[in-house]
């Protein structure tokens, strides 16, 4: 039992954070927002220079073979900069292929994904029509779906890989409230697909990776919203005093910190529980997703409020955090949904 980062984990956290703070600037983010919400050059250097896109991939498949704690560290840093990167879908897809793909699929896709040559996404559909090697379906709300080259489509216990470039696949990229991670509608019309041999394993891997990544991202959003607001509160003078000296202002910042400390415990509890195959791993994931998303929203909303008028302008970055926080709340199940799962578990009801 040692619930602090190892030296290597501290180094990863410092590296990824330094890289993103320097590269994922507000200017670049806003340029990506005006396009498809993806900074391709940033993603390329994330994959090539930083080499952290292969965290979830074993070394023999070209990855760096690290665990969920490291996955969370990267997602946290990405959240803190609201970076316009396809990290969520990438991490989900990579771990899904590792968990449920064939040898050929791993050989074919993992190195291309890890090197950043192709962009990945994951979609889910309620209904589909399966004609052996071709598949028809509509999947809504796919993060970065319009920018992806390879999409894993999940339907109940089955999962298929789809090359998005074929004409049988159409993507409609929507104007999305959070422009740093636009959603798309993906339609397959008798598209060529290759099914993953272990669908349930692939889907489970994608799901736990997605929930953990969103939780960690939310932690990053929340902490950065607090840090920036604290900095502002020490500079901004009103009524002849720095606004951070007013007690009510202080107490709101303190409340943010109280939540963030819990969110941090939640993320790394869940990450360790996954890495250590702990029986409570799902409980931890439901807890982390609901708690961290709500914390991020509360902190980003306070970031706007505590900045006053400037906080609600387009020009200030506060709305980027606010919109990201809201989108995290909605993606992959609301807070109420995950709390209901927790309730069923602690009340001893069957899943």
């Amino acid at each position: 039992m040692d619930f602090v980062f190892t030296d290597e984990q501290v180094m990863i956290a410092d590296t990824v954070s330094a890289f993103l703070v320097e590269s994922a600037t507000s200017e670049r983010t806003r340029a990506a927002m005006a396009a498809d919400g993806l900074d391709r050059s940033l993603w390329a250097s994330f994959c090539e220079d930083l080499g952290l896109a292969g965290i979830g991939v074993p070394e023999e498949s070209g990855g760096v073979g690290l665990g969920m704690v490291e996955q969370a560290i990267v997602a946290e840093a990405a959240g803190a900069t609201v970076a316009p990167l396809p990290l969520l879908g990438h991490a989900m897809l990579v771990r899904a292929i590792v968990a449920g793909g064939s040898h050929e699929q791993k050989d074919t896709w993992l190195s291309r994904l890890v090197s950043g040559r192709i962009v990945g996404a994951v979609a889910r559909a309620e209904h589909w029509q399966d004609k052996g090697s071709s598949l028809s379906l509509v999947a809504d709300f796919v993060p970065h779906g319009a920018s992806a080259d390879l999409i894993m489509v999940c339907g109940e216990a089955r999962a298929w890989l789809v090359d998005a470039a074929q004409p049988q696949v159409t993507r409609i990229g929507h104007v999305t409230m959070d422009q740093t991670r636009p959603l798309a509608t993906v339609t397959l019309t008798e598209a060529r697909v290759e099914e993953l041999p272990d669908g349930p394993a692939a889907i489970a891997a994608a799901e736990v990776t997605g929930l953990l990544s969103l939780s960690a991202e939310a932690l990053g959003v929340a902490q950065e919203a607090l840090d920036r607001t604290v900095a502002y509160s020490k500079e901004r003078i009103q009524f002849g005093r720095p606004i951070g000296s007013f007690q009510a202002y202080k107490h709101r910042l303190a409340d943010m910190m109280v939540l963030i400390e819990q969110a941090r415990s939640a993320v790394y509890w869940a990450a360790c529980a996954l890495d250590e195959n702990d029986a409570d791993a799902w409980l931890a994931l439901h807890a982390a997703k609901s708690f961290c998303a709500d914390t991020a929203f509360m902190c980003a909303a306070n970031m706007i409020q505590l900045h006053g008028g400037i906080g609600f302008t387009w020009e200030h970055d506060a709305h980027l955090f606010f919109k990201r926080a809201r989108s995290i709340q909605t993606l992959m199940g609301s807070g109420n949904h995950h709390r209901e799962k927790v309730a069923a578990m602690v009340l001893g009801e069957a899943a």
Binding site: Q179, Q238, F239, F312, W314
Partner: protein, 392 residues
């Protein structure tokens, strides 16, 4: 204590309802239901003039100045029927509800004659210049300067959050006229024509992608010497009086807009099944209760005989509606689910409910943040000691 209306009042209701509904069904059907501040401005100016032509533009004003000297009950009824008919948001809200009453209360007879007819007629649109970029909630920290040069005031400085300045004819400005004065002392309240070379209006884009607010720059902007309300140095008192008018009958009209938003949430919730979720149901109930209590709070506030007295319902109104609407925005998004994150078209433009979610983040800030409201409530309403002012 009585909530119902008399027979005469109900007859008045019939009269204004018939007139409003006819206009909204026919001549002005194209602007029916417009709630935001910036759409179809020209047609809405025509609508202001149509109201004026039938003496419906400012019914609470004295008859002499184009009003009807309407009773409180009549004003309440008109506000209700105005909204029920789907008549559009008033583009001259600030003229009718703030500038006009301020001139009526503090202006000279000459000023009344000069300004009130244009407001009543819907031909002079007004906006307000209070906040400044470095002042924020500290409203009295005014740096915009005014000096008297011969028979003119010359104004230099910058105002911010001047909503609708880009469509307005007149602006009232609080400026520092005594060199070296600080805080609420040495300020003067001026009325200026916007269309002049010394004034530049730059829209500010907000979180929802639209621009309703502006920065307004003054570089040797000018107005005649008699454009001030009250006396030089007395501007703070006038400005504070004006803020009190913000809590008038127009709040009931505002509430009708809230009603539409809540009704839309209810409609969507029934349609997409969110209304079956007990947690959503609780929040819909809370929203409904909050809206009703706003209405009865407004009626309590308006029924007072002594309108100048500090009154709990009036002091608490701003934070109440702003917080209610912020919560409503979150409810709207939770009812919409993921669909609420996607715009219908190809532009960053939002329908009623996502826009409510985004725009309501401004509500708890402009016109006095929730924090400032709480200070006011505690100090003026509960008599608690003032916070020590710093000297940075």
């Amino acid at each position: 204590m009585k909530l119902g209306f008399s027979l005469a009042e109900e007859a008045f209701r019939d009269e204004c309802a018939a007139w409003l509904q006819d206009r909204m069904a026919n001549a002005f059907a194209d602007i029916r239901g417009i709630a935001n501040l910036t759409e179809k401005i020209e047609r809405r100016k025509e609508w202001e003039q149509e109201l004026a032509a039938h003496r419906w533009s400012c019914i609470g004003w004295p008859e002499q100045w184009g009003g009807r000297g309407a009773s409180l009950a009549e004003q309440v009824i008109f506000a209700e029927e105005y909204a029920r008919a789907g008549a559009p948001g008033r583009v001259n809200h600030i003229g009718v509800e703030l500038a006009g009453p301020t001139i009526l209360a503090f202006g000279t007879e000459e000023q009344k004659a000069k300004f009130l007819p244009g407001i009543a007629a819907g031909t002079s649109i007004w906006c307000q210049g209070y906040s400044e970029p470095n002042a924020g909630s500290d409203l009295a920290n005014v740096r915009t300067k005014a000096r008297l040069e011969g028979d003119q005031w010359v104004v230099n400085g910058q105002k911010v959050w001047t909503s609708l300045a880009h469509y307005s004819d007149w602006i009232f400005v609080v400026a520092r006229s005594e060199e070296g004065s600080k805080g609420p002392k040495g300020l003067t309240f001026l009325m200026m024509k916007l269309d002049q070379p010394g004034i530049d209006v730059v829209p500010i884009r907000q979180i929802n992608g639209e621009a309703e607010f502006n920065e307004t720059f003054f570089a040797d902007a000018r107005c005649p010497a008699d454009s001030l309300i009250g006396t030089p140095g007395d501007g703070w008192r006038v400005a504070m009086g004006l803020l009190a008018f913000e809590r008038g009958v127009s709040t009931l009209g505002q509430q009708m807009g809230f009603r539409n938003e809540l009704d839309e949430i209810i409609r969507v919730a029934r349609e997409n099944g969110a209304a079956r979720d007990p947690l959503i149901r609780q929040r819909i109930a809370k929203a409904e209760i909050g809206l009703r209590l706003m209405r009865y709070g407004a009626l309590r506030m308006l029924s007072r005989t002594d309108l100048s007295a500090i009154d709990g319902a009036a002091l608490t109104y701003k934070i109440q509606w702003a917080t209610w609407r912020r919560d409503l925005g979150e409810l709207a998004m939770d009812v919409l689910g993921q669909a609420g994150e996607i715009a219908e078209g190809d532009a960053y433009e939002w329908g009623m409910l996502p826009n409510l979610f985004l725009y309501s983040r401004c509500d708890t800030i402009y016109g006095g943040t929730n924090q400032i409201q709480r200070n006011q409530i505690a100090e003026r309403g509960l008599g608690l000691p003032r916070e020590p002012r710093g000297d940075v």
